[in-house]
């Protein structure tokens, strides 16, 4: 290496660090430092109800209190129920619709655009839309089901504890499925056509070629969908907050709703921070379990 290129490389490196600096500063100030601050908060008792005492270090007490509270475990169970339903319905649904659309057709562009509508909307708009549909008196759902003769009496969809969570899951699927469809469509496109042709020559039925060609090729996409859906649904807050507020009777209080309430209604920041870290911990565990499962199957 000549001297000139060496100084050029050194210049490049210096410039590279300068170009990266703004991004690093912002990420440290708004993500890394707050995360550390949150970790520290989770070991403090802020004594909001008794400010004279100030804050004190309590070690793992916040974590232990959370892990001993039934509120935490119930909300975690609700979240898991939500995630489970989302995965078991959302992924097969997304795949089915992608298979349906995976064909050159007139108007495919328009169909795809319509499918993307729910994806780009604000989750708050999603709540607003479903509030108008679920309204017990003038909502579309009651009106429509009555016209079809399926129900006689109007149902208060969001006011019944057992129903409310299901209705939230439906609203969330409406918004979340387009993402899965787009991913599956891209995955289906990447499968070589020759494999299907060869299978057809060998006399394979459509079901067998689906089982032995489509599914194995789509495995990375399925994995991606499972991970993304889990992460997103664990974070779910907007539609719960605005559609049910966690009610009725706490029946839709998912974890992020519980954390929000502890932190910003009861001002228990220490507990809120501890819960947030526990939530992150659970998501991490799930993601690790998933990657083991998917990798394990491959070998």
């Amino acid at each position: 290496m000549s001297k000139k290129t060496r100084t050029l490389a050194a210049q490049d490196k210096r410039l590279g660090i300068i170009l990266l600096l703004p991004a690093i500063i912002i990420l440290c100030a708004v993500i890394v430092y707050p995360m550390a601050h949150s970790l520290w908060l989770s070991t403090q008792n802020l004594n909001v109800s008794n400010p004279a005492r100030g804050r004190e270090y309590v070690g793992f007490q916040n974590y232990l209190e959370v892990l001993h509270s039934s509120d935490w475990w119930l909300s975690l169970l609700r979240t898991l129920y939500f995630v489970g339903a989302d995965l078991l319905i959302g992924i097969p649904l997304g795949l089915s619709i992608a298979l349906l659309l995976n064909k050159e057709r007139k108007g495919k562009g328009i169909i795809l655009a319509i499918i993307l509508f729910p994806y780009v909307l604000a989750p708050i708009v999603n709540s607003l839309i479903w509030k108008l549909i679920y309204d017990p008196n003038y909502g579309f759902l009651n009106g429509f089901l009555t016209q079809l003769g399926i129900i006689k009496d109007y149902i208060p969809w969001l006011a019944r504890p057992t129903l409310a969570l299901v209705m939230l899951i439906i609203a969330n699927l409406w918004q979340g499925t387009p993402f899965a469809i787009v991913l599956f469509l891209a995955g289906l496109k990447s499968i070589p056509k020759e494999e299907y042709e060869a299978a057809a020559i060998d006399g394979a039925s459509r079901i067998t070629s689906f089982q032995y060609i489509t599914i194995p090729h789509l495995k990375p996409i399925i994995y991606m969908n499972v991970v993304m859906k889990t992460i997103l649904t664990f974070k779910l807050f907007d539609i719960v907050y605005s559609l049910t507020g966690g009610g009725p009777g706490g029946s839709t209080t998912v974890v992020s709703m519980l954390i929000y309430r502890e932190s910003f209604e009861y001002m228990k920041f220490g507990q809120g921070a501890a819960m947030s870290y526990l939530l992150l911990f659970f998501v991490l565990i799930l993601v690790i379990v998933y990657s083991r499962m998917f990798k394990g199957e491959e070998s």
Binding site: G16, L27, I115, F117, S127, G143, W174, V182, S263, L279
Partner: protein
């Protein structure tokens, strides 16, 4: 055989129509409520259409003024705040994001893995985990209820994604593109600004589209950090309408439509960029 083909085609088209109806009906219902005369919103039995179009709700929001501090005016101001916040966030994020992505792909700064880590981290972190400390710090610095605090937060939340998209694009560019400029004595910065960025239009646009839409739609940070007309965003104003004890459904539906015009236009005109943004990261892996 041919007949069976015909039949299965028919079933497929029918199923596609069912899917499209499921997506469009909720949107249609919202539009219908926003255009219904007040009496028809609260009348039974349910009707599918409107007897006459009523634009009063739209007028009420668009021509609302400061003296009557009500939900319509709050929402109108929220739209303005959201627009300022989203545009600023998008410009700054895409600018710093492309600089960082260029450094990672071309200037041999070993930061690529850290960046991947940040992309995963910002995806996985429950946002509340950041909201609590930023609220406390923002409170100490007197930044609560300002657009600035939201802009800074949104930049950080979207930077990793933006760098990710730009890095993917820069990797597809052959280094020879800049080499001629370097030989001409342009220097690295000259090559970046005069050659690389001008031909990166599609990638910059894709990144900008996602950043803008994320900022426009964000709710939790805005809910916690803002408290009045000065900084309240469109989503917060909308949530207040939804949560009211006696909701004005016509006004609420109208706010939903007005708040969705921009995102829906993105789909209508820039579908290709959205799809490439969604699938870009996933399929390449």
């Amino acid at each position: 055989m041919r007949k069976r083909r015909h039949f299965s085609d028919f079933v497929e088209i029918l199923l596609i129509l069912v899917v499209l109806a499921t997506i469009l009906l909720p949107l249609y219902w919202t539009l219908k409520i926003s255009l219904s005369p007040d009496k028809e919103i609260r009348s039974l039995p349910m009707k599918w259409g409107v007897s006459r179009l009523n634009f009063r709700n739209y007028q009420e929001i668009i021509f609302s003024y400061a003296k009557a501090v009500d939900t319509a005016y709050t929402f109108k101001r929220g739209l303005g705040n959201s627009l300022i916040i989203s545009v600023t966030t998008t410009i700054i994020t895409v600018f710093f994001g492309s600089l960082a992505a260029y450094a990672i792909t071309r200037l041999k700064v070993k930061f690529g893995n850290v960046m991947t880590f940040f992309v995963l981290l910002t995806q996985m972190l429950p946002p509340v985990l950041l909201v609590i400390p930023i609220y406390i710090i923002g409170n100490k610095m007197g930044l609560l209820n300002t657009k600035t605090l939201l802009i800074i937060s949104y930049i950080a939340l979207n930077l990793p994604l933006c760098i990710w998209i730009m890095r993917g694009y820069f990797n597809t560019l052959p280094p020879s593109i800049e080499e001629s400029a370097l030989v001409d004595g342009c220097g690295r910065l000259g090559a970046l600004f005069q050659i690389v960025l001008p031909i990166s239009g599609p990638a910059l646009f894709t990144a900008g589209l996602f950043v803008f839409n994320n900022a426009w739609n964000e709710f939790l940070f805005a809910l916690v950090f803002t408290s009045d007309l000065k900084a309240k965003t469109m989503t917060v104003a909308m949530a207040e309408m939804i949560g009211r004890f006696r909701t004005d459904y016509g006004l609420m539906a109208t706010s939903g439509i007005l708040g969705s015009i921009l995102p829906l236009m993105f789909v209508a005109f820039f579908q290709k960029y959205l799809v490439s943004g969604i699938t870009g990261g996933a399929v390449k892996q």
